[in-house]
Amino acid sequence: MTVINAKAKDLKTISSKLKESLNEDPIEVKNASHLHGLVAGLKHGEVIIQGNAGDYFGVLNAGATIRVTGDVGNYTADNMTSGTIIVEGNAGYGAGQYCYDGTVIIYGDAGDFTATMNKGATIIVVGNVGDETGTYMLDGDLIVVGDAGENFANFLIRGNVYIGGKWNSLGHNTRVEELTHEDIEKLSGYFQTYDIKADPAEFTKIVAASEKPFYK
């Protein structure tokens, strides 16, 4: 295993080291919490960050599997198109925004505007999420095991939102729907894969009330 110590190094240096070592799976990076946009746009490989990571962690990820043992800053997994990002701690504001595909899993809590404009990724938060989570979601699955804040799933356009706990308020254009057999199977599949202790049958499913919420 390659270990990269990012202490006092800049993004360009660490990023080029990462790209050089990409074929020797997996790579470990430590002392990287000061770097924003770390592990950006990789198409393959496995990277483990020991400790915390900064903002825009795993931005534009295009196939790599990335794990952080601590907390992450804001906008984690921004605009991901493929791959997996696992956060063992908490995430800041706007995790999983603008993603097209792949999986983001946050074992701790996530902040406001999580999964905004999700266009097809699977985003799982095991803890609680803040306000406006799932705003303008166009496709994909958002699974919140804990509770949500205000305006949950605001202006949902397409896609599925599942929540195990409560929400403070639901956003515009939302409708609570019965869980189907497929939903339960899908959820238990995720829970098994990511070792989450939760009962899928207890979840509430939220979908878009109308597929065209903006104009008649």
């Binding site: 360009k12 825009y56 266009k119 597929e211």
Partner: protein, 523 residues
């Protein structure tokens, strides 16, 4: 729409096919974007049903097989009935009936302070001698990103096609722009609607995706736009061009996002944008993944990183507070900054925003240039002027005011055949420019139209050359405000240019542009 009631349609019944043989021809009704003509379903006769809706585009006259139609301007209601002109009355009626505001395409309709009241100062005996256009060289090249990235852009001419999205434009129009850029060595831009694959090779002058068949010299560049909706954006997308442009705003709708209606999200657009067919594509008015300038700085950092530090990073601004906005872009590490004025065009915006929001293009330039000068980067960080640039004369004036290059948006549409009917938002463009309908798109041959675009660029380049040389310069980088004079007080007041005759700037401009710090929530 301020042009409502401003035009009279007249049909010469002696040559009109329909008048002679009702039912035999309905061309005008089919092509008019504003429903001015209507065919009587029972008799087959053509009627002028909606006389006042005519916007004077003359599309019907162009398509009429017998050249039977004439469009004449009506007497201006601006003089006789202002402010309650027919256009205002009609607009209020429309709102009262529908509860909706007006949406339209293209740009401004009212007279707005613009380049026409600025004149070029030629060289005579007291200044450097004029240059000889036939014998002497004139340097028109512009380099973006020198010293900051591995592959700077060397634009052969000081022009770009600004961002125009696939979705607003047809695929064929996007291809034509790429071909036009390849033939002239300038840059085309994806716009915020994702990449049309063909742009990648056509813009560089190749006919095929493997880059083996070079068809057009010298080959141009492709700028990749990064925006708030992030349509079709991936690592591959940002690496598929030669530069990345971060869009903050545009002149026709500054402070607003975009909205491609679900009905326009065809299978192809859905594929390119990476979203379900028929779903609304809403581009937010701001980045949900940026809350502070610090965040934006990190965004620039990761964009440089993901593109391996090869490409220049550009910013695009709407016309707001040019001094502060440009200063912020410099701070963020921009290699070039486009500023789009109030006069800038659009595929679709609310009428009141296109018309009534933002700073005129000519008034954006002095503060923008001052910001560059105050940071010591004028002519290093390149300034690209957008918004109502129509020809080499406008381009020259913008460059003498301190821009390094200009972009042609609306003018490019017109070079492609557009006749300015302001109805782009309807998606029925009779020339296949702003339509996704196969029958309209079939009318636009990308190679033929690409050639028209290249011709237009070459002609404008010659115009810039003439003006540069007659004012005694060897290249556009030597131009300055001394090459211009304002011809009226308003222009002198808006731009700080010397007033013709008086040969000095107005007194309050004597010390140049003085920035006033913007305070947040300053009411």
């Amino acid at each position: 729409m301020t042009v409502v009631g401003a035009f009279c349609v007249s049909v010469n019944r002696e040559v009109c096919i329909n008048s002679r043989m009702p039912g035999k021809c309905a061309t005008c009704a089919e092509v008019c974007p504003h429903g001015v003509y209507a065919l009587d379903a029972y008799t087959g006769e053509m009627r002028i049903r909606n006389y006042n809706a005519c916007v004077g585009c003359r599309i019907c006259a162009e398509f009429c097989p017998e050249d039977a139609i004439r469009i004449n301007p009506a007497e201006s209601e601006y003089l006789s009935r202002y402010p309650w002109t027919l256009a205002t009355v009609e607009e209020i009626h429309y709102k009262a009936q529908t509860g909706e505001y007006l949406l339209r395409g293209f740009g401004t309709q009212q007279p707005t302070p613009h380049f026409d009241t600025i004149t070029v100062v030629p060289s005579q005996i007291a200044s450097p001698e004029p240059r000889d256009k036939y014998r002497e060289e004139c340097d028109l090249e512009v380099v973006i990103g020198e010293g900051t990235c591995e592959k700077p852009l060397h634009l052969k001419l000081p022009f770009v096609w600004p961002a125009m999205s696939f979705g607003a434009l047809s695929k064929e129009a996007k291809m034509a722009l790429a071909i036009g850029a390849a033939q002239t060595g300038i840059a085309t831009n994806t716009g915020e609607g994702g990449l049309v694959d063909e742009e990648m090779w056509l813009a560089r002058g190749y006919l095929d995706k493997d880059f083996t068949k070079k068809e057009w010299e010298p080959g141009g560049y492709l700028i990749i736009q990064w925006s708030t909706g992030r349509w079709g954006v991936s690592t591959d997308y940002v690496n598929s061009g030669d530069a990345v442009e971060v869009k903050i705003g545009q002149g026709a709708k500054p402070g607003m996002g975009g909205h491609l209606l679900g009905t326009k999200v065809t299978e192809e657009i859905a594929r390119v944008r990476g979203i379900p067919v028929g779903s609304d594509a809403l581009s937010p008015c701001r980045y949900y993944d940026v809350q502070t300038l610090e965040d934006m700085k990190h965004m620039v950092d990761f964009l440089r990183d993901v593109t391996n530090y090869q490409f220049p990073i550009l910013f695009k601004l709407g016309p707001s507070r040019p001094y502060d906005d440009v200063a912020a872009c410099i701070e963020l590490g921009a290699d070039a900054i486009s500023i789009d004025g109030l006069v800038g065009g659009t595929g679709c915006s609310p009428d009141i925003v296109t018309q009534g929001v933002g700073i005129p293009t000519i008034a954006c330039l002095p503060p923008a240039v001052q910001a560059l000068k105050d940071s010591g980067v004028h002519r290093k960080v390149k300034l690209i002027a957008l918004g109502g640039i129509r020809n080499g004369l406008d381009a020259f004036k913008a460059m003498a005011m301190g821009a390094d290059a200009v972009g042609f948006g609306s003018a490019a549409e017109i070079a492609m055949g557009c006749r300015v009917c302001y109805a782009c938002q309807k998606g029925n463009c009779p020339y296949g420019i702003t339509s996704q309908k196969p029958e309209m798109r079939a009318r636009l041959d990308p190679i033929e139209v690409g050639q028209r675009l290249a011709n237009f660029i070459h002609a404008c380049a010659e115009e810039v050359k003439i003006l540069t040389m007659l004012s005694g310069h060897n290249g556009i980088s030597e131009l300055s405000t001394e090459d211009l004079r304002a011809m009226d007080m308003t222009t002198a007041a808006l731009t700080g240019l010397k007033l013709a005759g008086y040969d000095r700037p107005l007194s309050f401009w004597e010390e140049g542009y003085k920035p006033v710090a913007v305070k947040a929530n300053d009411n």
